[in-house]
């Protein structure tokens, strides 16, 4: 299976095998791929909350509205039945 341009086959290093990199170099590379500070909501090394992508925030709002509509619809149907 391929996701993007990456073949999804496991290699030895994929499943927790020992790293072949020098520990300092590995730490440097790990730091390099961390979430950049400017993308964080709280700009502090202990916090890892990223600003949500547009698709996440818009989707969240839309789904919340749909849930609210389901609740309102249920409440309305109840009211309607009570009024009969």
């Amino acid at each position: 299976m391929t996701i993007g341009n990456v073949e999804t086959q496991k290699s030895a290093s994929d499943v927790g095998g020992e790293s072949k990199l020098d520990p300092q170099e590995r730490l440097r590379r790990l730091r390099e791929i961390q979430l950049p500070n400017e993308r964080k909501i709280i700009k502090h090394p202990d916090w890892e909350i990223a600003w949500p992508e547009k698709v996440s925030s818009v989707g969240f709002v839309v789904i919340t509205l749909i849930c609210a509509a389901i609740l309102f619809g249920t409440w309305f149907l109840g009211k309607l039945m009570a009024s009969l």
Binding site: S13, E32, I33, F60, I63, I70
Partner: protein, 494 residues
């Protein structure tokens, strides 16, 4: 009559169950690796992911509880399941996070974030909770089917027939069987949810006679009902518990979508569809009350309504749909339980075995866990008590998982302390002070959060490189695995 069902109804049941089993067995042809067995190779698009999440998230015990409670306390009975709606928008956010973690279970998550001992603890907890869930589903379904047959069949016969079939195709087809059978079942779950309504309305002579027969406007009040059990405080607090517990649920990390997009579309569509069905269950219970107000046991209302309202043929279809829905759901949980056992215990004890060996162990472990669920089906007294129990338990750990996604200071000590302190607080509140559900939840959630923060601040951090690996996974989108390979971040399953 055969076991309390008309010949044609029985025929429908047999054909339907055989069809479901056949689909499940067909799916077995696609299973070649452990990844295929547990996650279907994560090859599924939006539709299949939604069908699977709808199927595994909707079990027969839920209409049994909601129909029974709505029959007893009115429209507010819908909250026994609709309360989970508060989590639906959050699924849109959190499922992609778990997809990016590229793991099998929350046990792997705990192992990765907090190290061995807490990972093992959660895995044992996950196995137990999965077994309880299977028990809950089997018990609810057997109660409903027994109701339909007028007690002509023993609940244990129903449990054993379901167990035999889902163990058979579940052990063979794993996650593929779960997905394929749920696509077929999704249609029947919807039928099961709405079918009673038109027949009740026609039999009662319209909506007005129903309202007049009930003759209690409070019965249609969504927020209070006629019982003191469900009120606004109950709804708000239970919503908080549910939202916290969502993260501690054993199945939350077992995502099968190809990328984040398929994952989030699947879960939210599946869950929204379930919310519509939930509303239909509540109205089915209320409408049935207008036709028969003599039922004393809420769990039997759904089955009796089917037996007395529906015509021949449709009764069989409902029984078949109930059983197949439960089977698909149990089979999904059984696969998840197998993943907990294999990934968090077996592979750590016996490394370097062949894929074929691990696949065989996955199948045996899945069957073993499902079998323990069948034992659970006998133990707990009522369905509602079980549901309350199931809501509460994952929240002991859910707090830690929520916090660990955002805050590096959360560590193994605070994870342990929060789980233990919350559990003990809950026990003291429930059994020593005999508190009601609402104050008990407020107290143990507050104590849990305070413990989490204080212990996290006072104890040593997790190793820097482990934290970096964890957050690198969390923040790296699917398709950008080259970044992870560059820093040699271990990946469990793409």
């Amino acid at each position: 009559m055969i076991l309390g069902l008309n010949f044609w109804d029985m025929l429908v049941v047999v054909v339907y169950l055989l069809a479901i089993t056949g689909i499940g067995m067909y799916a077995a042809r696609k299973v070649k690796t452990v990844g295929d067995f547990f996650l279907g190779g994560r090859k599924f698009g939006k539709l299949l992911t939604a069908a699977r999440d709808f199927g595994i998230g909707t079990s027969t015990d839920e209409p049994v509880v909601v129909v029974g409670q709505s029959y007893t306390i009115g429209l507010a009975g819908v909250w026994y399941t609709l309360i989970n709606m508060v989590s639906t928008p959050f699924f849109w956010l959190i499922r992609p996070w778990f997809r990016r973690m590229r793991l099998f279970t929350i046990g792997d998550f705990c192992q990765m974030r907090f190290g061995g001992s807490f990972g093992y603890f959660y895995s044992i907890f996950g196995l137990l909770l999965t077994a309880v869930t299977i028990g809950l589903i089997l018990k609810g379904t057997s109660a409903a089917v027994v109701g339909v047959t007028g007690s002509a069949v023993s609940p244990w016969v129903v449990v054993l027939v379901m167990a035999l079939l889902f163990l058979l195709y579940g052990a063979a087809g794993g996650q593929y069987a779960s997905v394929f059978t749920n696509v077929f079942n999704a249609f029947f779950i919807i039928v099961l949810s709405v079918l009673l309504i038109p027949f009740c309305v026609v039999k009662a002579g319209g909506f007005t006679p129903i309202a007049k027969a009930i003759n209690n406007p409070n019965f249609f009040n969504l927020f209070t009902g006629t019982s003191g059990d469900v009120n606004l405080a109950f709804i708000v607090v239970t919503a908080l518990v549910t939202l916290t517990a969502t993260m501690g649920n054993p199945n939350v990390a077992t995502v099968i979508g190809k990328t984040e997009w398929e994952t989030r579309m699947g879960i939210t569509h599946g869950m929204l569809l379930k919310r519509f069905c939930t509303v239909a269950w509540a109205f089915s219970g209320i409408f049935f009350l207008a036709l028969n107000s003599n039922m004393k046991v809420p769990d039997e209302v759904f089955g009796t309504a089917i037996a007395t309202i529906l015509p021949i043929g449709l009764i069989g279809l409902m029984v078949a749909a109930m059983m197949a829905t439960a089977m698909s759901c149990c089979q999904g949980y059984m696969v998840i339980a197998g993943a907990y056992f294999l990934e968090n215990f077996y592979k750590r004890l016996l490394l370097d075995k062949s894929e074929k060996h691990y696949l065989f162990v996955s199948r045996v472990a899945s069957v073993g866990c499902a079998a323990s669920g069948i034992v659970f089906a006998l133990v707990f007294p009522t369905l509602v008590d079980l549901l309350k129990y199931a809501w509460v338990v994952p929240s002991f750990i859910g707090m830690t998982i929520w916090a660990s996604l955002a805050w590096r200071r959360v560590n193994r000590y605070s994870a342990w302390a929060t789980a233990i302190v919350t559990f003990v607080t809950q026990l003291i509140c429930a059994y020593y002070f005999k508190m009601n559900f609402v104050p008990m939840c407020i107290i143990y959630l507050s104590v849990g959060w305070v413990t989490l923060i204080v212990v996290s601040l006072l104890t040593p951090r997790e190793p820097q490189d482990k934290l970096d690996e964890f957050y690198a996974l969390l923040h790296t989108p699917i398709g950008q695995e080259d970044r992870l390979k560059y820093a040699e971040v271990p990946i469990l399953h793409y």
